[in-house]
C-alpha cells in the first residue's frame, strides 16, 4: 500500500507473510505433466526395467509397495522403459513411486490450492516453476492408500 501527500514524501507499507514456505522439491515427469515431490521425503531414486514392475519392488532387503504416480493423479502416461522409481518416506513404511523420469530439482514457493479444487488428498499444494509453469506438489502420505487416493477420475 502506497500513500503519498504532496510535499510530504511517500509512505510504503508492505505486508510480508510471517512464514514463506519454500520447499526444495524433486521434479518428476509423468507423461507430459510434471509433479514435485518434497525433497525431505525423497530417500532414493533408481531405474528399473519395466518387466519387473509387479506392484512391489525389492529395496534394501525389504519389499516396498510400488505405486504409479500416473495412476494416482490420473495422468495419461505412455509406458516407458526403464521406469524410474523414487523411494519416498511415508508415515509407516517407505513407498516406491513409479514415474517416467526425473526432471531436476527446484526450490518452490508452495501455496495451498484454491477452494474451487476439491483438495485431492495426495496433493499438498502448487507452485510456480522458474519457467512459469505450475506444478502440483505431491504429499507422499496421501498416495498409495486404499486404491487410487488422489485420482478417481480418469477423464
Amino acid at each position: 500500500v502506497v500513500t503519498s501527500e504532496h510535499g510530504q514524501g511517500a509512505r510504503f507499507r508492505l505486508r510480508v507473510p510471517a512464514v514463506i514456505a519454500v520447499q526444495r522439491a524433486l521434479l518428476v515427469a509423468c507423461g507430459v505433466e510434471l509433479y514435485a515431490l518434497p525433497f525431505t521425503a525423497v530417500i532414493e531414486a533408481f531405474r528399473l526395467p519395466r518387466s519387473v514392475r509387479t506392484g512391489r519392488v525389492a529395496w534394501r532387503g525389504a519389499e516396498l509397495p510400488l505405486v504409479s504416480l500416473a495412476d494416482e493423479v490420473g495422468a495419461a502416461a505412455e509406458p516407458v522403459d526403464p521406469i524410474t522409481c523414487v523411494v519416498v518416506e511415508r508415515g509407516d513404511q517407505p513407498l516406491a513411486v513409479e514415474v517416467d523420469g526425473l526432471a531436476g530439482q527446484q526450490d518452490l514457493l508452495v501455496k495451498p490450492l484454491d477452494e474451487v479444487f476439491r483438495r485431492p488428498r495426495g496433493v499438498s499444494g502448487a507452485a510456480v516453476l522458474a519457467d512459469g509453469r505450475v506444478v502440483l506438489v505431491i504429499d507422499p502420505n496421501g498416495i498409495g492408500r486404499d486404491g487410487r487416493a488422489v485420482a478417481g477420475q480418469a477423464a
Binding site: K111, D114, V134, L136, G152
Partner: protein
C-alpha cells in the same frame, strides 16, 4: 479500468440505473458479458496445469502476473462444455471473492455499454456448483 460497473450510490438524477460497462465474449456461440470493473485483463491462454479430482468446470491452474490462479471453463459452467481451446480462445482474468480467477472463453467480442442482447454473468455466484 474505472469502476463504471459498480457504483451503488452514484448520485443519479433519475432512477435509471447507471450504464454498466461490459466486457463481452462468446461462449458456445452466445454472447456473455461481465462488468468491466471486475476484469483485470484479457490474455491468451497459457499452459494450464490439470488438478486431479477437480470438478469438470475447473480446468486447472495457470499463472497470471506471477500469481497462480484457477482457470474456469465457462462453457462447462454454462452446460456447454468442455471448451475446446481454439486459436481465438482467451482467458478473461476477473476478480471473484478477493482473488483473481481466469475464465476461458471462445473469443472476446467488445467492451460495451449496451446491455441488451448480452447475458450478464453473475460473477459472485458463478463458482457455486453448477
Amino acid at each position: 479500468m474505472t469502476d463504471l460497473g459498480q457504483q451503488p450510490d452514484a448520485p443519479e438524477e433519475n432512477a435509471a440505473p447507471p450504464p454498466v460497462g461490459l466486457v463481452t465474449f462468446f461462449v458456445a456461440g452466445v454472447e456473455y458479458g461481465v462488468p468491466v470493473a471486475r476484469v483485470h485483463e484479457v490474455v491468451r491462454v497459457e499452459t494450464i496445469t490439470r488438478v486431479p479430482l477437480a470438478p469438470p468446470h475447473v480446468r486447472g491452474l495457470t499463472t497470471h502476473r506471477g500469481r497462480m490462479i484457477p482457470v474456469i471453463d465457462l462453457a462447462a459452467v454454462l452446460g456447454q462444455g468442455p471448451a475446446i481451446i481454439g486459436p481465438h480462445a482467451r482467458m478473461v482474468a476477473v476478480e471473484i471473492a478477493t482473488r483473481i480467477v481466469g475464465l476461458l472463453v471462445d473469443r472476446t467480442a467488445a467492451v460495451s455499454w449496451h446491455g441488451h442482447e448480452i447475458r450478464v454473468l453473475d460473477l459472485d455466484r458463478l463458482l457455486e456448483a453448477p
